[in-house]
Symmetry: D2
Subunit: 348 residues, 4 copies
């Protein structure tokens, strides 16, 4: 059995000394900071390391004013061996290339890894070679962490490839209908997705300058966004995916256009979704009311709505906070599942 940590420790009442030790590599980026925020308050874990390539050794509070009084540790330089030694679970909030190198080493050392980069999301080797050329083989015990739809494999995994933000919102709405045979074949599936700027990360570029984004909207990455490949992998078919940059900081809305078989109604879709997501705390079904980004910002929820017209056209709308359900929130949800904790721990 490959379990390196003892989830029971967290609930044994023996207190902080026995808490699961977690580390965050890449702690000062947007997703890294969200991880620190969540994990600092998570009742079953103890943050033992938070690293940054840019860190000398200034305190986190000084570099991260939003986290003062919340995260009280230090930001330290990344040191893989000590990471493996001091943590039972390591979150990688690193660029693809850095994650591609570090993850296998940590898995090898017996540490559980939750990787927020894209490096290990694609199973097809040719696609991986195109989009993530630095990634070598996929580690044993790897799961794709779309929690609600992959819970058993996440529970057993040694490493989780945490999904991209666009695939998370899109697949949670699309896949239940595909699995239920409700998508008519032969018609294009169009995914028109709209994201806030934090999805582009902290790196400075003309694209993320306030004056370029404010008051504007732009499509980008048409026919050439790596999340397109990830969505197609999850959907099992070709998908017409175009992401757009919106003038907001957090949040993502995916509008999905499909054809459904004759006679399919909004109630047909409702019953599929209700069956799929019964009891799921983080998926909220809003039906014809249609969801809005505002309702999920700063939460780990995914809200899904849908409309069907008599001619057989259906529109699905799915919204998430790209930094939480689309990144750090789902990462902690996956950790909870891996450790046998209630999946909402630390996330409500």
């Amino acid at each position: 059995m490959h379990t390196a940590v003892h989830p029971t420790a967290a609930t044994s009442g023996a207190g902080a000394a026995k808490a699961i030790r977690v580390a965050v590599a890449g702690a000062t980026g947007f997703t890294g900071q969200e991880l620190l925020r969540i994990l600092s308050r998570h009742p079953s874990v103890r943050l033992t390391a938070a690293t940054s390539s840019g860190a000398a050794s200034s305190t986190g509070a000084r570099k991260l004013p939003a986290l003062a009084h919340i995260f009280k540790g230090q930001i330290t330089p990344l040191d893989p061996p000590s990471l493996a030694q001091d943590a039972d679970v390591v979150f990688l909030a690193l660029p693809d290339k850095a994650a591609a190198e570090l993850a296998p080493m940590l898995v090898e050392a017996g540490v559980r890894v939750i990787d927020l980069s894209g490096a290990f999301r694609l199973q097809d080797q040719a696609l991986r070679a195109r989009w993530y050329p630095e990634t070598r083989a996929l580690p044993q015990g790897l799961a794709y962490g779309l929690t609600e739809l992959e819970r058993p494999s996440v529970a057993d995994a040694r490493m989780v490839a945490n999904p991209g933000c666009y695939p998370t919102a899109t697949l949670l709405a699309l896949r239940p209908l595909i699995s239920a045979g409700l998508i008519a074949p032969g018609a294009d599936i169009v995914v028109d997705a709209k994201s806030g700027v934090s999805g582009a990360g902290k790196t400075l570029s003309e694209r993320t300058h306030f004056s370029e984004v404010h008051g504007s909207v732009a499509a980008y990455g048409v026919f050439g966004h790596r999340h397109g490949a990830e969505i197609e992998q999850g959907a099992g078919c070709q998908v017409n995916f175009v992401p757009h940059l919106m003038p907001l900081d957090r949040g993502l809305l995916s509008t999905i256009y499909v054809r459904v078989p004759p006679g399919t109604t909004e109630e047909s879709l409702a019953s599929v979704y209700e069956r799929t997501y019964a009891g799921e705390p983080f998926v909220r079904l809003v039906g014809a009311a249609l969801p809005e980004i505002k309702h999920v910002a700063h939460t780990n929820f995914c809200d899904i709505g849908w409309r069907v017209d008599p001619s057989g056209r259906a529109v699905l709308v799915s919204v998430i906070d790209n930094l939480l359900k689309g990144a750090s929130g789902q990462a902690v949800q996956n950790m909870n599942v891996m450790l046998g904790l209630d999946q909402t721990t630390g996330l409500l």
Copy 2:
């Protein structure tokens, strides 16, 4: 001959006394104010009336601080007979119902009318009955004012139905390809459109409250937006149209997903667009660079970009300022065409 005004007057050098007399009904809404701004500086016309249903008789400057030192006239209550008498051209920036009643009366009185409402945009009587039930018969001499594609009929018209903002952006990108036979039949046409809030007008509603819009994105009117019917009328086929509200004030981006015949390339589309829009001052072709709302805000431009992939999928992106090319700017462009003026007069 139905011409009620003498375009030559404007260029005869006889000065302001002979300038074409224009009026704006509904002058304090968003589009009405834009009309005042443009027409106040237009060298060939003289504003003889600016009316508002709410006006007692306060000066425009007091009610419209943004127009102080620009529009120096008075905002007066709407009085149809004097409107017909004092103006050669009347712009209607009114709710559909008010425009439906007023326009035929003005046309009857020999005044040229440019209607920014939706009341006279749909030619099919059944559709009109559904979306604009207050509209009775269409007046003689009515043109649909999508200027670049309908110039001859606009030039001859007694009345122009100024297009909606979504149809303007969408049809300028879509129709040249349809006319050229470049849209493969049998596949859905998806129009995913994103608009700023000013498109919803000045009326207060929960939907336009700052706190609802800021930091959010939402789809609305799925399978039930009247601009969908207008787009289908212009395209001549069914279109899957979903508008979205974005957290910005002005501007509109339409992403259009179509299938093109095998072998069609980006160059194929380029040559169609270049042929269609050669010499057009207000259409800018950006090709694979893709356009952004920021580039057209506060202008009368429509920027169009496109991408094609080898599998025969094409994505068209079209952007406008919804208050200018999508409303008041195109309205003045239409007036210029009707009067035989250079179409850019007052708009650059």
Copy 3:
């Protein structure tokens, strides 16, 4: 002894049955929804009522999509007698007039009241008559709930007047210096405050229309904002207060200009602040780094920074989330203090 509830119940381990019963009157406004969000997850209380004047009896989830899966109760019409009977603590998130009428009745009935309106904030009768004419006498056992600076009286109170958002941010920065004698007399105190739109509440007005606020900034209420009187009450001297509306949803920044005695340094101020706020979890001192709204949005923190120049001028900058530390967060903090709970319960 006036204690109507037994704080020990919350920690007795006897479970939800003995939890303190709390109610929210005015649950669908911005502050009301924040209260529902916090109290639904608060481990020591049980929400027994959430009322709205507009409620027929739709479920909260239907009316409040952001709170689906969080608040599972019903929104009911306001019924004062049952409110008094079913709750130990009642939060009033109502307009001033409604709060002015309801609060005394509830206090009379032995319920503890936390009032988020302005009705009971001013102690001077003449000022109250000017700004809150509907308020009659102040109830016995009333405290002003600026928690960090009024904790003893809050702990003993039967009713708390929860401070306004502008006074909260301003007084937490200003009052320690006044108490320490560090404000030079004879010079004006200028408070230039900037707030997000949610501070204006959900009521629709031209002022809160997205298109009016986006891309704009405006001063309002110069020499005539009731929070000016509240700040002067807390400061004990005249203050030059001008609020501004900013194009953001949440958050408030107060820039305070004072004169300090010769020889005063940034270190002098630091030592006063550190003494005042030692051990306070919700006040973070950032000194010359200066605070930003982004760092406190969606939290109950107040961040305070300051600069002093050799000529004796000092600038203090204080930021809060107007809906949390400036309203609902501080209201729950006050409840915690009243009930003898750790003041951070439910707020981290």
Copy 4:
């Protein structure tokens, strides 16, 4: 006589061949692009050069999509000798250091220079040494281009130092009262200014990243902003100046707190302002209504409002578009004055 250009040429009717030749150095920054936009449509000038340090020789349209169909020239590398030869007037939209070097050379060569940098704004040598150390001596014939208050010296100047955005908005409101003796001595003058992000220029920095600015407000440069020295120079006394960064792209609002002598009323101020700005097309006096950024965005207007209370406190509020009246618009206004043209030419 130092006149290098013949203003009459522009109005002689001899056509474009005799138009005044103008050049823009630094044409791809925010203010450079605004200059191109204005000058391309200016009826009396001909753009003969637009340079950028980064330019190889791509067309402006390709690098500047917003200016396609407007600016039809080329962006070329900066070459001072040819600049001096090909232009009668050169606008410098360059960093301080580059302008400090280039301006004297161009003045020497007989070219009129309008410098949008800060390099030549401060007359006091010690202050200049502190804030603009690269600037050597001030050229002969230099004027400070706060047009409305310095018109005679601008008309006679060989070179204009175009004012900073904060000083423009602040001094247009403050200086008439100082000149009229309406500012009570002995009390601090506080200038709390709020600016959009474009004021920081196109340079990428953490400060201008969309995610840092959106939803936030921050003070910066307290006691250390070079515009403070420029305001004090224009006011002739010490001023307490704190700029703030707002989540908007364009626009600037300055709130000014002063003491006025006993008995001063809002009418007293009105009569001073009306006398000062009688007939000025770009200054709009709004009195107690108070101005808003929205009303001046994308224009060359400065709107000024004021409130006075009986205790002798006055609040002045002044708004401009920082890129136009605060930079490129005022620069062209200054050119018009230098050339004897109507000052509004090209600006309405």
